[in-house]
Symmetry: C2
Subunit: 223 residues, 2 copies
């Protein structure tokens, strides 16, 4: 029998491919976090579609609405505009949500400990989000140590970030190789039916598919 792994699934390409990697060697349990991100409704649909695709029975949606409400991010603050044409600029993007990945991982580890899971998968991606401090390898290493010390001795929960060091194009290729349902994913910052194709997140996605030489299977609005 496969051991359980909790997979944090936002509904984007990175988490979908991480789920595909996890499913190779584990029985995946899917966790989704709502924190007031702009595309919350659309992401939740993708979470459910990808969970159905992998026939995942154990599902948990965690509400961290307060994380969006404390402010500090254009990803959750609807009075700030979505960044467009920012690719390549220096510094921490306005979409950074303070300590978000620690909050997501802490939730995932708590659930993992209850389920007796051996691992927590997170689709963080260092290169394309290099400005986010909680997307760096050093952070995950330190957090992993805190997990080892802060859970039951018999728990042994590993933090696994399978796409962390890949380029976005490599993530797309890996997804294709593993048969991940990329057509069910959502990257756009906007909470709509058709992706805008203009926000930074759409641009990163389009560039990645182009570099991978694989057609992006989702439709886009008028550019």
């Amino acid at each position: 029998m496969k051991t359980i792994a909790v997979v944090c699934v936002s509904g984007g390409v990175d988490s979908c491919v991480s789920a595909a990697v996890a499913a190779q060697s584990h029985d995946p349990a899917f966790l989704h976090v709502n924190y007031g991100q702009r595309a919350e409704t659309r992401e939740l649909k993708c979470f459910r579609d990808i969970a159905d695709f992998y026939k995942v029975e154990k599902r948990l949606v965690v509400e961290l609405g307060w994380l969006g409400k404390i402010g500090g991010s254009s990803l959750t603050d609807k009075t700030q505009s979505v960044p467009e044409g920012r690719l390549g600029r220096e510094g921490i993007p306005s979409t950074y949500v303070p300590f978000r990945n620690a909050n997501i991982l802490s939730a995932a580890v708590a659930w993992a400990e209850t389920l007796g899971a051996q691992a927590v998968y997170l689709g963080a991606h260092e290169q394309d989000s290099s400005g986010y401090p909680d997307c760096r390898a050093g952070f995950f290493e330190a957090f992993g140590k805190a997990v080892g010390l802060g859970t039951r001795p018999e728990s042994n929960i590993r933090i696994v970030t399978p796409v962390l060091a890949m380029s976005k194009a490599e993530v797309v290729r890996k997804g294709r190789e593993l048969g991940a349902p990329l057509e069910l994913t959502w990257s756009c910052y906007r909470d709509e039916h058709i992706a805008c194709g203009r926000c930074d997140s759409c641009l990163l996605r389009l560039r990645a598919f182009a570099e991978a030489g694989i057609p992006d299977p989702i439709p886009y609005g008028k550019k």
Copy 2:
């Protein structure tokens, strides 16, 4: 002007005394977490009373109800009985909530980063909760490193656990010394008006006040 510190205030003696320590050198911002603990309503009242005492303006109540719902703890699972007469037994108590302190600290750090706070205070207590893995000094040290790596470089948020290494009697004495409002605190596992005086948490508290030679200022029900 004093720098801001986020203080995690459950409403018990340990967090009240930690708030008193924080208030000596910081402008305290109070955080309370609801996670479906049995005494949730009573604890929230204490949080507000202690915040009023210290004239705290910045207050945040974070709902982590899912943490109680995933199970695994008699502290949140009302089908399990509250432990009585367990003091001195070995192993991790049934009241352990998986990775609770990491979830509380992650929330506190996110808020601290938004506020520009320099520290997060948590009233964890190693000796009397030695069975909880997330109450050990090693866990807080590792978590502190993850905070340093996972937040903005300019944030510099320290994790401070002022009562961690004290005995419970020392915590009571420290509280008295600093004029902490111990009469506003609540320790009982039960969500009632008068503390039961029988559950493990009441017994620990009563023993601590007795050892400190200070009368416990709160009333107790018939024992």
